[in-house]
Structure formats: structure tokens, C-alpha cells
């Protein structure tokens, strides 16, 4: 079936209610294309979304999906993938969802290295709740809850991922359709946890981190001599606070995903009609 799949097969018949011009349109299109390009179809794909404007993505895509509670999408994706390794699992959410309420899960999902793809639509603001500071908001960014700016440095999600042992760390820009698609595709193809932070501008509440800002500042790693398998080089780039990079910052080519390490390869949905064979041994242990 895969050869016949087109990216539009991943589109639901529901019209997005995102504000016209929202970066999330581009982010989603790239995700759908990347899924189709990697030979997936809606019946074997599971999309888990968080809460936020970004989290609505599960509604606009067509696949098996769960739209969960705020910040907990990664654990859900982990459960889905471990239970059925045949599924392509993609988790998506916002910067608030992933780096604030879900920050703990983020670090541990990175460590766990389950073979799934995590796309964060980073607009450096809370969109759905109408414009409060997010963990990636700039220190002096004035919002309804931080009239003088958060007065604390933004989190660096790429650095978090690298320090937690991330095996695939990338960044893209939603409006650069081709590069964004390509980068998400590489994340899908990666054996392990593929993390992509996507600059996905909020045209309604963020007048600082705009399309223009990103267009002017982004440095594409493909136009540099960056070697993504070189962790030190990745570290230097990731910690460079003056630049916004696009591309794969780090990829561990030796990455062994969780399921392989734990010998999980069967679909746990398939169980016998009664107690499994050998279950009596469990009782004998207690004689």
C-alpha cells in the first residue's frame, strides 16, 4: 500500500482552526509529507498530540491518534510504540507542552531512546491560552503574565536533549517546507528518539520571534561544514546563543533503540484466549 500513499492521505477532512498564517500549518504539512515519503500510511501511524494550538494537530491529521492531556504526550507515545513496534509513532506538541509542564518527560524520553519522532512546534509563546510567556520566551519578552519580561533565561531544548544523551537532535523552520520535511524525515528514519524543534511562529501573540526574524537569522547547517556525528561540534553549535540553526545538529549513528535493547519485537495486542502457556509455573514458584 505504501507506494500509493500520498501525503494528503494523512490530512483529515477537518479544516484547521489555526489563525491564518500560523506556523503550525507548515509544520504539519512537512510532517505529513515526511510520513508519506518514509512509506507509512494512516493505518500504521499513530500520532500523539499534547495540548495547545500545536496539540490540535492530531485533529487535522488522519491516522490513529490520541489527543492527550497537557504535557504528557511523550509517555503516551512511549506506551504505544513499546506495545506495538509495527506502528510508526509521532509525537507533537508545543514548547509549553514539551518544555514546561512536560519537561520531565522530555528528558526521560530522550534518555529512553524509544524509536519514535518528537516534533515540537516552538513559537516561544503560549498560543492557546492567549499569549503568556513560555519556557523558550526571551528574557525580556513582554507578555500578559510577564509585563517586564520573564527575567529568566529561556531553556535551550537542544542542550537539554544533548545532555540527556539524545541520539538525534535537529531543528527546522516550518516555512522552509523542503528542509523541514527532509529533517523530519531523517528523524523518522533514525533508529531511536528523533527530536526536532521546529520554529513555528505564532502570528497572533509573538511579534518578536516572527517569520522575518527567523528568515534573517537562521543558519542552515547544510551550508556549513558541520558534521552531525561529531558530538563536540554539536555542543558548540547548540550552546551558541547568538545563532538559530537549521538542520541535524547531532545524530548518533550507533544508536540502539529501547525496543532492541529490551528485546521487544512483538505486538502486545495479540494475546491468547486464556492464561498464557507456562502460566502454571508462576504458581509453582510459590509452593
Amino acid at each position: 500500500m505504501s507506494s500509493e500513499v500520498r501525503f494528503t492521505d494523512f490530512k483529515s477532512d477537518k479544516q484547521p482552526t489555526w489563525c491564518p498564517g500560523c506556523g503550525d500549518f507548515g509544520t504539519m504539512n512537512g510532517m505529513m509529507k515526511a510520513l508519506a515519503n518514509t512509506g507509512n500510511d494512516p493505518d500504521n501511524t499513530f500520532v500523539v498530540a499534547g495540548i495547545g494550538c500545536s496539540g490540535k494537530i492530531g485533529t487535522y491529521m488522519h491516522s490513529y491518534a490520541l489527543h492527550g492531556v497537557h504535557g504528557r504526550a511523550l509517555p503516551v507515545g512511549t506506551g504505544v510504540k513499546l506495545a506495538n513496534p509495527d506502528l510508526e509513532v509521532m509525537v507533537a506538541g508545543g514548547d509549553g507542552d514539551g518544555y514546561s509542564i512536560g519537561a520531565g518527560h522530555f528528558i526521560h524520553a530522550v534518555r529512553r531512546n524509544v524509536d519514535m519522532t518528537y516534533v515540537v512546534m516552538d513559537n516561544r509563546i503560549y498560543g492557546l491560552t492567549k499569549g503568556q510567556a513560555s519556557p523558550t520566551s526571551r528574557e525580556d519578552f513582554e507578555t500578559s503574565t510577564t509585563p517586564e519580561g520573564p527575567k529568566q533565561p529561556p531553556v535551550n531544548p537542544l542542550a537539554l536533549a544533548l545532555s540527556a544523551g539524545g541520539s538525534f537532535i535537529a531543528q527546522s523552520f516550518s516555512t522552509d517546507a523542503q528542509r523541514h520535511t527532509e529533517i523530519v524525515q531523517k528523524a523518522i528514519e533514525h533508529d531511536g528518539f528523533g527530536f526536532v524543534n521546529v520554529f513555528s511562529p505564532c502570528v497572533t501573540f509573538n511579534d518578536v520571534d516572527t517569520y522575518d526574524y527567523f528568515r534573517d537569522s537562521i543558519v542552515d547547517l547544510d551550508e556549513t561544514d558541520h558534521d552531525p556525528t561529531d558530538r563536540d561540534a554539536a555542543k558548540t553549535k547548540i550552546l551558541d546563543a547568538d545563532k538559530e540553526y537549521q538542520g541535524v545538529l547531532y545524530q548518533n549513528e550507533e544508536s540502539v533503540p529501547y525496543s532492541d535493547l529490551h528485546g521487544l519485537d512483538s505486538n502486545m495486542a495479540e494475546i491468547p484466549d486464556g492464561a498464557p502457556e507456562g502460566a502454571m509455573d508462576l504458581v509453582r514458584e510459590f509452593y
Binding site: 509517555p75 506506551g79 510504540k81
Partner: protein, 586 residues
Amino acid sequence: MPDDLNWAIGGEAGDGIDSTGKIFAQALSRAGRHVFTSKDFASRIRGGYTAYKIRSSTDRVESVVDRLDILVALTERTIDENLDELHDDSVIIYDGERTEMEDVEIPGDMTGLSVPLQRLAEEAGGAIMQNIVALGAACEVTNFPIENLDSALEKKFGNKGESIVSNNKEAARKGQEFVADEYDYEFDYDLDTTDNDYVLLNGDEAIGMGAIAAGCRFYAGYPITPATDVMEYLTGRIEQFGGEVVQAEDELSAINMALGAARAGARSMTATSGPGIDLMTETFGLVATSETPLVIADVMRSGPSTGMPTKQEQGDLNMTLYGGHGEIPRFVVAPTNVGECFQKTIEAFNLAEKYQTPVFLLADLSMAVTEQTFEPEVFDMDAVEIDRGKIVDDDEVEAWTDERDRFQPHFSTADGVSPRALPGTENAAHMSTGLEHNALGRRTEDTDVRIEQVDKRNRKVETAKEEEDWSPREFGNPDSDNLVISWGSNEGAMREALDYLDDEEIDVRFLSVPYIFPRPDLSDDIEAADEVIVVECNESGQFADLLEHDALTRVKRVNKYNGVRFKADELADEIEAALQSEEVTA
């Protein structure tokens, strides 16, 4: 003389009290004796008083009583801690050669047996075996064939090598012989053995075993007393059946992982205790509205907040029944003894999938940490039936699609249960959400659809009420005017209390209820009785409140909330007092 033995070993946490107690319990069980254990433990790893108690008889034992016949005291404090339960015929085994125990005074007319536990252990190969020396001494005091202890030692240390096993056997012999040689004393105790083959396990282990039997393949949890044993049991075992245990970073993650695995189609579970249940509550609502089958075990401990983590309570009933914002259909199943932990876990998985609903498995600490003997038939794997409910395959999808060929996972059926398509099923891709949704799973704020979906979810409960058997279990005299009702692990103490009451010529009908929601309608039983008493380990009487509400009448309450389970004799006294009190009349 007495065949009903109450034995304990006590000392400092870290002294190996638990494993020693378990070895003796196993020796007794292997000799075809019934065993019921309890633990006094503090919430710390080293230091602090801790004890492992065993009640054993050739008859079934269901509870602890206020009596201690033989006490192995590794510290002086052990004697003080148990003074209330010791009696004139009690025997205390201690090491009078140890400086800290030199000046120990044996209270009253009790018999003190000073056995050089440490010295004899060293002679046998290492001081670490001092507890085993004490077990050998206990065998002599009780006339219990030491070969049974040998076999328990083989089981315990078998994989550590032959010399460890033989050293331990030797240590036990030294303890036995020392008592035989040094004390010219006719002991009162005489333990019979039988040919019965019992299994000995605790409630947490039984829950884990039930989960595997029921086809559970995925478990995610975060350690918390007293639920951790479920996870430790499954670890290393579930893998043999193609499953996986994940230690999540917290309970929020644990329940969400379990939810993910369940959505992928696996039978999936998490277990925790009070504080963890609090954290899981938000996702609990999502599980219910997304109609995901999930088993969530709450092994209750003393709350609120961190409360008393190692103490008994049944205080979370309201939490599991009402927890979560909005109104959430759910099942709450509460096993009443260790064997039922196995059976009700299997039932919980079937209920979860048949009705696509979260199921709380509400257990309590006393049951979770109690090792109890059972006929192996209680854990009959051949009797396990698996009902996965309305799962549709590729060919059946079409029957459940709308006019635009879209699968309707929340289709409003007459029984409230919708078709369920596991990911991978062709042409059934759909989204689930915690938002209110229509039959397709899409968000809606349409007033009619909202009502339709709320009603549909509640209808599942109505269907289940009709289709499943929610009866209580009945003990005592069915025609008595005195009705006692309890839930959870109080069953054991109450069953035995019936005998004590019988001796006093008080006759009682006793209903043990393993279901909180849905629960049996006991209105007629309550109406028919003159006196109704509800027994539970909490302060307010959460179950009594429910029964009063159901039957529109008042009931008497016997509550205990000091952190210790009911003892059979104590409970009998309380029931007697409640029957005599004027306080409420049903």
C-alpha cells in the same frame, strides 16, 4: 497442645527480619500448614523496629490475633513492642551473650530461652546466619520437624550454592540442639504437619500473577510503598510472556504510558498508592472519555498526603469513586483477600476491555504485604477466561463507518459499548481525545451530542450492572438479625470474629463486598436486619456512607484508623459492643 501458633521475629530494620520470617513461613507452608503473616515495619531502611509475624494452624487462618506465643527478639525493644500480645506461656528466644541483650529481663512468667545465636552462627560458618539459628531453636520449641526448614532453606539459597545451603542447615541444627541440650523443659507447643500442598504468596504478588494470567503485557509504574511489589513481581516475569515493565519517571508518565499501550491494543496496567493516585487523576479522566481499557491498581496506605506510608488504611475509597474533575464512569473493584487479588485482577482486565472503561483495583496494605497460604486451585490458570470485548477486524470496520466511510469509535450503541479498532486495522484510523467528542472522536460542543456521549458512557455502567455478577460473599448465619458488612481485607478478621462471637452466642450474618462501583444493592438485606454494622479501616466510614445512601437508612460503624489492621478477637469485641450500643438503629 495448641496447634494454632503465633510466632514473630523482631529487631532492627536491616537485620534480615523479613527474609527470615519468610523462610519460616515457607517451612510451615511446606509442611502442609496454613500460614497468615503480617508485618510491623517503619518507613526507613536501616534502624527502627521491625517485625514479621506468622500465624499458623492446620486449619485455615484468615487474620492476626492479639496473641504471641513465640517471639524471637533480636533487640530488647522487640520485647517491649510486643508486651501487649505476650502471655504467661510465651517463649522468648534471644541471644543473652550479646552485650546489648545481656541484661534482658523476661517479663512475668514467660519463658526466656537465651540461645547464643551469634556464636552458634559463627560456628556454622558466619554470624549472618544468626536468624537461622533462631529458626532452628523455634523448631525445637514447637516440636516442628526441622526437615521442613531444610527444604525452605534449599529453596531460598539453592541458587547461591550447595555450601551456603548446608551452612544454613547446620546453623539451624545448632539452634535446635542447643535448646534440646540446655533446656530441660516440656514445651507446650506441638505443631502438626499435613500432606497438603499449599502456595504461599502476598496480595501484590497475586495481583502481578493475575495480570500475567489475564494477558497483561505492559506495565508502567513508579515505585511507592506498598504497591512496588507488584512491579517487582512483574519485572523479570512478564518478559517471559512477551511483555515489558517500564519504570517511569513519575506517576503522570506511568499512567500515560499505560494508556498509550492500551490504545495500541495491549492489556495494560499501572499500580500505585495514594499520592500516586492523586497524580494520575487528570489522565484518569482522559482514559474514561477516550474509552480506553486500563487497569489502575491503588494499593491503599494511610493518608492523607504522605501520611503513614507503611501503615494500613482504607481511606481512598472516595478518591477512586469520585476522583477527577467532571463526572467519570468507572469501575471500582476491591479484592477481599490475597486469593481474590488474583481473581479480581483478571476480572478487572475483562471488565476494562468489555466496557472500554478504566477499572480501579482497590487493594489495601494489609492484604498487599500479607503472605497467605492457599490451595493451588485458587490460582487455577485453566479457568482463566479472556474477554476482549467488541474489537472489530478489517472486515467488520465497514459496518461501523459513517456515510463518508469514516470509522466511528464512539458510536452510540444501545448498550453504550462502541466498536473498538486497534491501530493497524485497515480503514479505521481515528483520533481519541479528552475533549468532548462526537461518534468520530472529533471535538464538539454541540449540546445534543454532548448529552448523547455522556449518556452513552454512563450506559456502559448500566449494561455492566445488568450483565455482570456483583454479589457479595456471605458468611455466618444467613437468618441472623445482626448484619455485618465490610469490604477489602477486613474479611479475614471478620470471618474469624464470627467464631469468637459464636462462642458468646452472638449470631451474625456477614457480607463481604468486593465491589465498590457498581456494588450490590444491599437495601433489602439492610432492611431485613435489626442491626447493621459496617466495618472499615478509615475514620469516616466511606463505605458506610454509600450503603446509607443506597438503603436510605442509618447504619452503625466500626472504624479503625490507627494504621493497624483489625485483629479477629478485637473485632469481635467491637462488634459485640456495637450491637449493644444504642447509637443508631437501622
